[in-house]
């Protein structure tokens, strides 16, 4: 068996405040690992640390991030730069602020291309056309001439995914890529990420507080709690989870996890269309759940998922 693509063993702190204790995990070629945790568990810090960018946020990292056997954290600055975007790429959390409002979308792509390719703008064109269709953005030059303020949040997230995939990285870090999106767009983005990682064999580290999307996207699941990975298991065996942090995450689901997994399994067997409908369904259920938390009013219970959730929240 080939060695893992990414081997991580690191600790991170901001000054004297320790945020990540001893985080250890591996990521294999083509694998999708979900990293879940509540807000403040250190998810974004982990992403920054993995890219060697934590110093820009005023933090310090110790340990190692091995990509192809080279430690990204101790590489000279110019070699680390060559890794970022080329071998390991990022899909960030907030699409609107991650794009520079003063610059056109095309300039974003051109600069990112120039950072790793000396072949010039001509070679970029076919790649760009291919990417734009892969992430289902409007074709044509008019779209790329726009500035980030002139596109929707969902489109901005697709642009960022295309930007991350530009150099066909071996590892894709997705830092809560759906948190700024509406449920429908969330489902579309999750589906897109799954397709892309399956088609290109890209290893995916999907970081989220949204356990539902992780269950749909990932093979394995790691639970980050108080700066350490407390449990790491195959998604299929999630029902055997033991750690209190994992259990509380599972309890926060709108439907029991067993039901979800069986849904997912049947969905995987059936067509892609069915998968979409279930994703939408679950996202809606999730949204309804949040609404129900705030004011428990009696509504029409025509949605079976909603009904289940209601009984669930009554028993717990």
């Amino acid at each position: 068996m080939s060695p893992p693509l990414l081997q991580v063993r690191l600790a991170a702190a901001y000054g004297k405040r320790r945020v990540l204790g001893d985080v250890q995990f591996d990521l294999c070629r083509g694998e999708a690992l979900g990293m879940v945790g509540t807000s403040g568990a250190g998810k974004t810090t982990l992403v920054m640390a993995l890219l060697g960018l934590l110093p820009w946020r005023g933090g310090q990292v110790s340990g190692e991030v091995l990509i192809d056997g080279a430690n990204l954290l101790t590489l000279p600055a110019h070699q680390a730069r060559q890794m970022r975007g080329k071998r390991i790429a990022l899909v960030p959390q907030s699409p609107m602020t991650a794009l520079n409002a003063a610059v056109s979308l095309r300039s974003h792509f051109e600069e990112a291309w120039r950072a790793h390719e000396s072949s010039g703008a001509r070679a970029l064109e076919p790649r760009l056309r291919q990417l734009i269709s892969e992430v289902q953005l409007p074709a044509g030059d008019g779209f790329l001439r726009r500035k980030p303020g002139q596109i929707s949040v969902g489109q901005a997230q697709r642009v960022l995914i295309a930007l991350a995939l530009l150099h066909r990285p071996a590892i894709l870090l997705a830092d809560e890529p759906t948190s700024a999106l509406d449920p429908v767009t969330q489902a579309e983005i999750v589906k897109l990420l799954r397709q892309l990682s399956q088609r290109n064999g890209t290893a995916l580290l999907y970081i989220s507080h949204d356990l539902l999307s992780v269950l749909h996207l990932c093979d394995r699941l790691a639970v980050l709690h108080d700066g350490a990975i407390v449990e790491c298991m195959s998604v299929a065996h999630l029902e055997q989870a033991q750690h209190p942090a994992t259990l509380s995450l599972l309890r926060a689901l709108p439907v029991p996890v067993g039901l979800l997994l069986s849904h997912s399994r049947t969905a995987m067997d059936s067509s892609a269309r069915a998968q979409d409908s279930i994703e939408l369904h679950l996202s809606n259920a999730n949204r309804e759940a949040q609404r129900e938390d705030t004011h428990l009013t009696a509504g029409n219970l025509d949605n079976p998922c909603e009904e289940q959730m209601r009984s669930y929240s009554c028993t717990h």
Partner: protein
Amino acid sequence: MKRRIALIALLLLVVGAVLVLRWSPGGYAAQDRDSTMAPFSAQHWTGTDELGRDRTVRVSAALLIGLAGATAAAALTTAIAGCFGLAAAFSPSWVAALLIFLSDVFLSLPWLFLLMMARSLLPLTASPLDTAVATFVVLAALGWPACARVIYRGALALRSAEWMIQGHACGLRTRQLVRLHLLPHLRSLLLPQFLICVPAFIVAEANLGALGLGVGEPLPSWGSMLLELDNSALLARSHWVYLPIALLIIVLLTLESFATEVETHA
């Protein structure tokens, strides 16, 4: 609208000055020894100075020299400040601290004394043009630290912006980050700094000139023109002696209001 009025007023002044210089028979240094300290006449519309030089021509030349020199010096000082501020913002913290300390040192230098030293280092035979260049270069060299601080603060805030982090994550080189990501955003800091420096340098040159440290004779400048105002004999002869100071105030007013307009509508 105000911005356009200020710009048109400035343009008219410059065009007028250029035309006056083109049509003047002798140029700014020509002396009419028969009519020194003359009041209004058909030959000299705004009179002459002690040496019989035409005041209209000299004030036009002073306006152009002052404006050109101050603009060049402002561009230079803004460029220095931009480079310095960016270098400090993107260096390790100890280098940044050192650079900021350096700008502190520059701010606390007794610059008038330094200017006098710098001017005294120039040989007495230095051409008037050299003295003009030296004056404005020294102004530019002394003007950057305050501006550099502003740029440093601005760049520091931009450094940790999400899109900068995203740029790093894409593997962009530092110079790509600066050119693509920083400069468009720093423009709103750099442009007002530049526009504020222009009138400030015109005033500084006028003050230096009044002390005899500015642009050398026979090249006219605001400073040497204002020097006439302490000649009581001349003051009694003609009210046109006040023309240079009136024009200087008008020029400064248009420049200041233009800078203010640009800043508020940036």
